[in-house]
Subunit: 223 residues, 2 copies
């Protein structure tokens, strides 16, 4: 079920000023689209040249807001394709006055059109949609198609940090990272009962963990 576009959404998006960059050309042919570069001027956007990290699928932005607050000297771009949701994330960033957080409304496929290669040393995938049916496996954000995109956007020593509550999605992800040629480190098969420190627990994560569901986490990198 597709969520209905909320009332006043356009106004609300607009009032988030330049915090949200909207990808509008999603109907165009993907391959053609990403060849016609329209790079965002990141230094201008953030007003500084600090390092930039990426979260893909930020939802209402709880993780992005928290990590941006904890690391004021790092800039964060949070990507979310659902307009209804990204607007909430951006309004929160304004309300909480988080200067180092920006949003891209759009699908991850189009990122290479707007972002130069080799800029992120960290890509976060938090509780991405698992697309449980096999026939939608290529929609999963750890599908090799997306890994190729993240790889392109990442520095050579870049890392993808993934968290999920979905066991089969995690199994799939390990295989896709492997198959793509990425190595895996710091695996947790039960994050909340591990010695991992500094985890940012979102409401979603807490809800699943409270149900006794283990949270899975890994870091993938190019060897």
């Amino acid at each position: 079920m597709r969520m209905r576009r909320k009332k006043n959404l356009d106004k609300r998006l607009e009032s988030c000023g330049n915090l949200i960059f909207s990808i509008e050309s999603e109907d165009k042919n993907f391959n053609t689209a990403i060849e016609e570069k329209e790079y965002i001027d990141l230094e201008k956007w953030f007003g500084n040249s600090n390092p930039v990290r990426l979260e893909v699928g930020c939802g209402k932005g709880q993780f992005a807001a928290e990590i941006a607050k904890r690391n004021p000297d790092i800039n964060y771009i949070a990507v979310e394709k659902c307009a209804n949701v990204v607007v909430i994330a951006a309004e929160r960033a304004i309300e909480e006055n988080i200067p180092n957080l920006r949003f891209i409304k759009g699908s991850a496929e189009y990122l290479p059109k707007y972002l130069p290669d080799g800029i992120f040393d960290r890509v976060y995938l938090n509780f991405s949609c698992p697309f449980p049916k096999k026939k939608y496996a290529n929609h999963r954000l750890t599908n090799r198609k997306f890994l190729a995109i993240f790889d392109r956007l990442m520095t050579t020593d870049g890392e993808i940090h993934q968290k999920t509550d979905n066991m089969h999605f995690f199994e799939y992800s390990i295989q896709e990272f492997s198959e793509y040629g990425m190595a895996i480190k710091n695996v947790s098969l039960d994050l909340h009962n591990s010695d991992f420190e500094g985890n940012i627990v979102t409401e979603y994560e807490k809800r699943f963990s409270d149900l006794g569901q283990p949270i899975y986490r890994l870091e993938a990198y190019k060897k």
Copy 2:
């Protein structure tokens, strides 16, 4: 605690005839030892030139016996360093008349001294000792030191199939395979509730699974 050598052990080992090859030179320097090749004549040992697969840490041999019976055209070598245990496995192979199963009593480190390179297309690690303390990590059979040994013994398209009930050992193994340059496929984080078919459930595996403990499994291969 080291188990006491059982009464009549030598006699029992002897009565297993040429089913058990005993590595006796473990006190020698490891590196020197494996340079002085004393290859076992596998064709003579098995009486045929069928393909050969390896299990490392076979315990009382329940898995080895079962897989050998299911695949009469494949030869199996099961390795176990504890004499008290390997003798039980070998006696069982005699009792159940399994012609395609042989045993090596000794530590995995010494295998390259007695087995030529590139001969196994499959190495099984079933419920290997997890050595939970970090300082003994290099004793774990998925430590890169052992992976290098298995890699050497395996065909270029060889696979290591691992099963364990120990979560932290499995996390560690994923990382070690990765770090060593092996890719991972067919991951199960809850084997008994997966669609994996043909699993051989040993008593040990059943006991842990009955306690509600998930069984972890993966296949690692050189990319």
